[in-house]
């Protein structure tokens, strides 16, 4: 059996990965499989495999060199295959859209149901360095000045990125309008969508009168809201539960309790990884891997149990690195916060190459990062957890944590990545800049694939210089 050589943490490119992959024993490769199927479930392969299948940007990206990170990337890039495989083995494919984090908890409580977020395809044009999906969206009438999540309409139109879902749950309301319009275009194509209402949180700032204390509830992130908002969401989740019961013929509320425990376990691990990463003297994990891990909280990349195992493994690795004081960036890397996720993964590499280190993030998925209460009625617990959502409240609530860390001098700069024309970016960014004015703030529009020009690099360099 080949003995795995001790590897010092660093970021490596594709070719180095391929060489290093040869060192990995066959048993390790065979051990990791999705859907627990050893016949066709193996996903541990070098990123070069996916580059050959079209993810050309992998040639430019640099990754964490750990086996744990490789396992994660193999699993993440394997999702499309996994979804089609799920269809072959008669699992129900449930497209959950728009709420980013809570509806999958309901779906996972039903046997053989696989939730996935089509909007996570927004990275695809960048990983593939291809504008094909974006061009198709234009042909479907979607304006170019809008969120990159418009590629979801192209994916539904092309039918080659995921099997036709057995159920599509479209969350709309106090959420991003770009995406609500994308889903309406999908419905116009003939797909049936179960629309679900997302209410605005309506903290006391958005009431005319000072509310009585007993009329208010408080979320884990410290946001106050009228109790009625919980009722709205609880009823919507009961509606979803009934739809899943009708689809599967199974109605076992106790499974929801178990699922919540499992989801909380994952969220807890990820919260610890984020904290370890932020507090460590040397950054143990690159920002690109960390962002990918955070988004795993949404639905576990279509195999929740295997994703949980992957995150456990990464958590142990990060702990080991922190204990040894080793990591992937320089010790003097400048701590910054990142607001709104970047559709182009290359930007996360670039910012670190320029000397920064991401110690906090607000990737519009606050609702997927916190614990779901386990001692109250599960549907209401889900509603209460979703009410922490990033996009259903004000910009001040969104950046409250980051503002606190700036005040403690833990964050030296803030990077806001926007999409031109995206409804919440255009309205929130200037306010967020004013709110976080104590430190240098840079707001850039993520360009389409191939669009990271020298001009953006220069702006980033100037930003880093300013912070220094």
């Amino acid at each position: 059996m080949k003995k795995t050589k001790r590897i010092f943490p660093k970021k490596i490119g594709l070719s180095t990965w391929s060489k290093q992959f040869e060192e990995i024993p066959d048993e390790t490769i065979k051990r990791h499989k999705y859907y627990n199927n050893s016949e066709w479930g193996i996903y541990l392969s070098p990123p070069a495999t996916f580059m050959v299948y079209g993810a050309r940007e992998l040639q430019r990206l640099r990754f964490d060199n750990s086996i744990e990170a490789l396992r994660m990337w193999g699993f993440v890039f394997n999702e499309t295959e996994r979804l089609f495989r799920a269809r072959q083995i008669n699992r129900k494919i449930i497209a959950t859209t728009g709420d980013l984090g809570t509806v999958p908890v309901l779906v996972l409580s039903f046997p053989d149901c696989v939730p996935f977020y089509p909007e996570c395809l927004w990275w695809t044009p960048f990983f593939k360095e291809s504008t094909d999906l974006l061009d198709t969206a234009s042909k479907l009438g979607l304006p170019e000045a809008t969120c990159f999540s418009r590629v979801v309409a192209s994916a539904f139109y092309k039918r080659s990125y995921f099997p036709k879902p057995d159920l599509i749950i479209g969350s709309t309301g106090a959420s991003c309008d770009d995406y609500s319009c994308v889903m309406q275009v999908v419905e116009n194509m003939g797909y049936d969508i179960m629309w679900v209402e997302i209410p605005f949180r309506r903290s006391p700032d958005f009431l005319l009168n000072k509310p009585r204390q007993q009329e208010l509830e408080k979320t884990q992130l410290g946001f106050f809201y009228p109790k009625i908002i919980e009722d709205y969401l609880t009823r919507e989740y009961q509606r979803i539960w009934q739809a899943l019961f009708k689809l599967t013929g199974v109605n076992n509320p106790h499974r929801l309790v178990e699922t919540i425990e499992k989801v909380n376990h994952l969220r807890n691990l990820v919260a610890e990884i984020k904290k370890l990463n932020a507090d460590a003297e040397v950054a143990p994990l690159p920002a690109l891997e960390l962002m990918t891990i955070e988004f795993g909280n949404l639905y576990g990349y279509a195999d929740f149990d295997e994703w949980l195992e992957i995150v456990k493994m990464i958590h142990n690795m990060v702990k080991r690195r922190v204990e040894k004081g080793i990591g992937v960036l320089k010790k003097d890397a400048i701590p910054i916060a990142w607001i709104t996720p970047s559709a182009d993964p290359y930007l996360l590499n670039l910012v670190e190459d320029l000397g920064c280190r991401v110690v906090d993030s607000e990737y519009v998925i606050n609702q997927a990062m916190i614990q779901i209460e386990e001692k109250i009625e599960p549907m209401r617990a889900l509603a209460r957890s979703f009410i922490n959502a990033s996009l259903i409240g004000s910009p001040e609530e969104r950046v409250k944590n980051i503002k606190g860390k700036i005040a403690k001098k833990l964050i030296k700069g803030v990077l806001i990545t926007n999409m031109l024309g995206a409804s919440h970016c255009s309205m929130e960014t200037r306010i967020i800049e004013r709110l976080l004015g104590d430190v240098p703030t840079l707001s850039i529009d993520v360009p389409a694939p191939f669009g990271i020009t020298q001009q953006i690099k220069t702006r980033l360099e100037a930003f880093v210089e300013t912070i220094k």
Binding site: L140, G141, L142, P143, R202, F206, E396, S426, M427
Partner: protein, 336 residues
């Protein structure tokens, strides 16, 4: 026009009767002016909706005139405008959860909460008598405007949309007593078109003028024009208000939005329109996304005009309108 004691609001699903019951003047935020828009750009990015930017500019210039502003989640950017208003001014704001889905239960609940908030804030009781009086008052104004609009929709049309736009403005700005009774005779045999798209602003005169030089707009589905007056409050009670406002001509932002297309298709037939003009504001997601569906769904030729209120492109718009007239001509002649 004297601007004091205003209750600003942003959406057709917010019952104007309830705002009027406060004793103040309901004022629909529908401004679309390039100077106001540039003032609004101090607070939001340039790729925000021009209507939102203009309204922000207007609010900044008239802060002391607003007793409060009621926003809704009907459109994401307009909802976030309320967040900017709260962050940048001292104007009290309230955000109304306007369900996008067929969820009447949430809507009815939210109306009750809005009534409670207004009653408490303005120290007034909205009892049955108050509600009935306001319902009658505003229904009478809508009925009056529907009668005027019937002239515009008639065949041949005897009222221009330019004039009608000036009249309906009184409704949106809460001055229903100023709705005139003298209606000019503006007979026209020009080709009949139907207008839809982003809300038409108070300052939309120039673009309506340009269109009506050679066409006659004889019907519309626009928040700045007639959409609001086709809310018919039959039962003059709070429940009556809830039902009629919830089932008003459906916003394109409802999910699903089939009913919007059904309503427009029916209305286009009723007005015997031969073409459709869609005026879409820059970065206005809801209409920008739907133009292709409109072309497929609505059988008539559609002219899409983009605007950011700068009207610098009026001459280009004129050329395009002229070309559209030729299309209408050949369409009517059965060539297309």
């Amino acid at each position: 026009m004297e601007l004091t004691g205003l209750v600003g609001y942003t959406c057709s699903y917010i019952p104007v009767e309830l705002l009027s019951a406060t004793g103040l003047r309901p004022y629909r935020l529908l401004h679309g002016d390039i100077n106001l828009s540039q003032k609004g750009e101090q607070l939001v990015r340039v790729d925000a909706c021009p209507l939102v930017k203009s309204n922000l500019g207007f609010i900044l210039e008239n802060q002391k005139n607003f007793a409060c502003i009621i926003g809704s989640t009907g459109c994401d950017m307009s909802r976030r405008m309320i967040e900017v208003v709260r962050f940048m001014t001292d104007i009290p704001v309230y955000l109304f959860n306007n369900p996008r889905t067929e969820n009447f239960e949430i809507y009815a609940n939210e109306i009750d909460l809005l009534v409670k908030e207004l009653e408490q804030y303005f120290r007034r009781r909205f009892d049955k008598g108050v509600i009935q009086k306001e319902c009658e008052r505003w229904e009478k104004a809508r009925q009056r405007l529907r009668e005027i609009d019937a002239r515009r929709r008639a065949n041949p049309s005897t009222l221009s949309t330019k004039t009608f736009h000036g009249m309906v403005r009184y409704f949106h700005q809460g001055e229903i007593e100023n709705i005139t009774s003298e209606i000019p005779q503006e007979m026209s045999y020009k080709p009949r078109v139907y207008l839809l798209g982003s809300p038409l602003s108070y300052e939309a005169g120039p673009i309506i003028d340009l269109i009506e030089q050679r066409l006659r707009i004889c019907g519309d589905f626009s928040c700045g024009l007639s959409r609001g007056i086709y809310i018919k409050v039959r039962e003059k009670t709070l429940d009556g208000l809830k039902q009629s406002y919830f089932h008003q001509p459906p916003c394109i932002f409802r999910r699903p939005n089939k009913k919007y297309y059904e309503w427009v298709e029916k209305d286009v037939k009723e007005t015997k329109s031969t073409g459709i003009i869609a005026i879409v504001l820059d970065y206005c997601d809801n209409f920008d996304f739907e133009l292709l569906s409109m072309e497929k769904g609505l059988t008539l030729p559609i002219l899409k005009l983009k605007s950011d209120f700068s009207y610098q492109n009026l001459s280009q718009l004129k050329v395009r309108i002229d070309a559209f007239i030729e299309v209408l001509g050949s369409y009517r002649g059965g060539i297309v």
